[in-house]
């Protein structure tokens, strides 16, 4: 199997993007990625569109985006993996190249949640578990799913409200320095503690916002990548796993099983020891749709022992200069979480970090040249862990 590299990245401003429609938004990211890769549409042999939709009007997003961006008649598809949709799109393009089917592919993630009013979006995302047994009868909301985990985690390990707050404060600190972020504003513990309850124990400032945005990457095979750029960022490995739709079918509410399985799979392929995983990475992007998710991510990725993830945040070990900088682009909490774009946005952030191109005040020290993305769909219904490196994989 061939090595695959990222040779171009594109990222729109995240937030309320009522100034553009879905295809215009996607094109902003696609255009930037094509320009970075120094390629034209005719060079793209295959493109994948990550979009969850249902809140936006177009039923066949890949098709309207293909038309608007002049990618027709190249092969395409739309993929969905809930909040990990972007990583699923990346995976499809990556596998297409790895297998030798094509040499150059584009993956774009796009979501425009503001095409529907907020209450309707709350209604639609609430259905994102087991529809009949969780939503229809009991009205679980999306924050509610993660709140079930938060209550169980806090009861078992003694983590406090303030510990969740530390995650929000860190991610807002970095979001304030990221020109692409939805919220470019720092927050204080006082503001955090006073914020409105959403789904106990989670508050508004524990939650990522409803967002519009797009991100794109151009991927190429090793041979082509070397012709295109002196600085390819390689995809070393990717681990994928799934979890039950119905949360009641899970045995543990203190960690996300699928994420741990995906991490171990990715690490095994990259020959990384789980127990010392943090030592390998200069920077990581983890799924912080809610603050509790970032704490569990530290543990599921082997950055902290079980039950000690919140201590990592308390000790500021995930700021730049700490053990392993995490979500230094602001994370989903402050950068925003346009569901279908998130996974690609994470890949763009890590690529730019590894190339020393992150915005001022958010650049981590790149020593090993290695970074990671952890993208969870739903509440661990899907999980994708992807490892990126400036060094060519040996395989």
């Amino acid at each position: 199997m061939r090595n695959v590299a990222i040779v171009g990245t594109g990222h729109t401003k995240f937030g309320v993007r009522t100034d553009v429609n879905l295809q215009e938004l996607a094109w902003e990211a696609i255009r930037q990625a094509l320009e970075e890769a120094n390629l034209e549409q005719k060079d793209i042999q295959y493109f994948v569109v990550g979009n969850v939709g249902s809140w936006s009007a177009e039923e066949l997003p890949a098709v309207v985006i293909g038309e608007y961006s002049d990618l027709v008649p190249k092969g395409t598809m739309r993929v969905e993996a809930a909040c990990a949709t972007g990583s699923a799109a990346l995976r499809d393009a990556y596998l297409a190249i790895k297998s030798g089917e094509v040499d150059i592919a584009l993956a774009v993630g796009v979501e425009q949640m503001h095409q529907s009013p907020n209450p309707q979006v709350v209604e639609l995302i609430g259905r994102a578990g087991d529809y009949f047994w969780e939503f229809e009868n009991f009205g679980l909301t999306f924050p509610g799913y993660y709140a079930l985990y938060a209550s169980a985690y806090m009861a078992k390990y003694g983590a406090k409200e303030e510990d969740l707050g530390k995650i929000a404060i860190k991610n807002h600190y970095y979001g304030a320095r990221n020109p692409y972020a939805q919220f470019q504003k720092e927050i204080t513990m006082e503001e955090y503690l006073k914020s409105k309850p959403v789904a106990y124990p989670l508050k508004l400032l524990d939650s990522s916002p409803i967002t519009d945005g797009a991100a794109a990457v151009v991927l190429a095979s090793e041979e082509v990548a070397k012709e295109l750029t002196d600085s390819p960022v390689w995809i070393v490995s990717q681990g994928v796993a799934s979890g039950t739709a119905n949360l009641s079918k899970r045995s543990d509410f203190t960690h996300i099983d699928a994420a741990e399985i995906a991490a171990k799979e990715a690490y095994k392929r990259a020959k990384i020891e789980f127990e010392n995983a943090w030592k390998y990475f200069d920077v990581a992007e983890v799924h912080d749709c809610f603050t509790i998710a970032e704490i569990m991510a530290y543990e599921d990725l082997g950055f902290a022992k079980r039950g000690e993830g919140y201590l990592l945040a308390r000790e500021k070990q995930t700021y730049i200069g700490g053990k392993v900088p995490v979500n230094v682009d602001g994370g989903l909490k402050s950068k925003g979480h346009p569901i279908g774009a998130t996974g690609i946005s994470m890949a763009v952030s890590i690529t730019r970090q590894l190339l020393d191109r992150a915005p001022k005040g958010t650049q981590a020290d790149i020593k090993n040249g290695m970074g990671l993305t952890h993208n969870v769909g739903g509440t661990g219904h899907y999980a994708y862990v992807t490892i990126f490196s400036t060094r060519r994989p040996s395989s």
Binding site: V122, F138, G139, L148, A150, S151, Y200, S248
Partner: protein, 176 residues
């Protein structure tokens, strides 16, 4: 409040919006409004109302059980796996027509949340507690917790109730 009152209230809100939109179309000749950021938005003039019809034939016994005040699960006679929510196929043994067994009525709360920001279709209820309880047979169940106080590890009882104002039969958890 009866379910029809809620429906009417929601419909009223929708028709007010449509009337406002009709007014805009009449004056400007376009269904275009301006949002908070000053951006023009075309408001869909075609409305979609979806209400799904979900087949329940294979688990019809579950609903019959509810009518008799019982919460039923299925059990595979070959591997003894208990399925809740019930399903009539055991994918492990590739068997169908499983046995029906009653869920035990006592268990322990393993996770919970209080829903403050509700979906519009749940907006007529006051804030509700949703819990997952591990029942005496080791099988988990998700339901509303009818209690003022709530704590992880709390002992709970599973009970069939009638959900008002809709009046349909469902189940909930309450403290023992």
């Amino acid at each position: 409040m009866m379910i029809n009152d809620i429906r009417e209230r929601l419909q009223q809100q929708i028709s007010q919006l449509i009337i406002a939109l009709d007014g805009i179309v009449k004056t400007t000749g376009m269904p275009i409004i301006t949002d908070k950021s000053g951006n023009p938005l075309w408001v869909d003039v075609r409305e979609i109302t979806l209400r799904y019809q979900i087949p329940v034939k294979k688990i019809q016994k579950f609903f019959e059980g509810l009518k008799e005040g019982k919460v039923l699960a299925t059990k595979c006679p070959k591997c003894n796996t208990i399925y809740f929510p019930p399903q009539d196929d055991c994918p492990k043994c590739k068997m169908s027509n499983l046995e029906w067994v009653e869920m035990p009525n006592e268990g322990e709360l393993v996770a919970y949340t209080i829903i403050n920001v509700k979906p519009p279709s749940f907006s007529h209820y006051s804030d509700y507690i949703i819990g997952i309880a591990k029942m005496a047979n080791g099988v988990n169940i998700t339901a509303w917790v009818n209690s003022k106080e709530v704590k992880i590890g709390m002992k709970v009882r599973l009970k069939v109730i009638r959900r008002e104002p809709e009046g349909y039969i469902t189940y909930e958890l309450e403290p023992i």
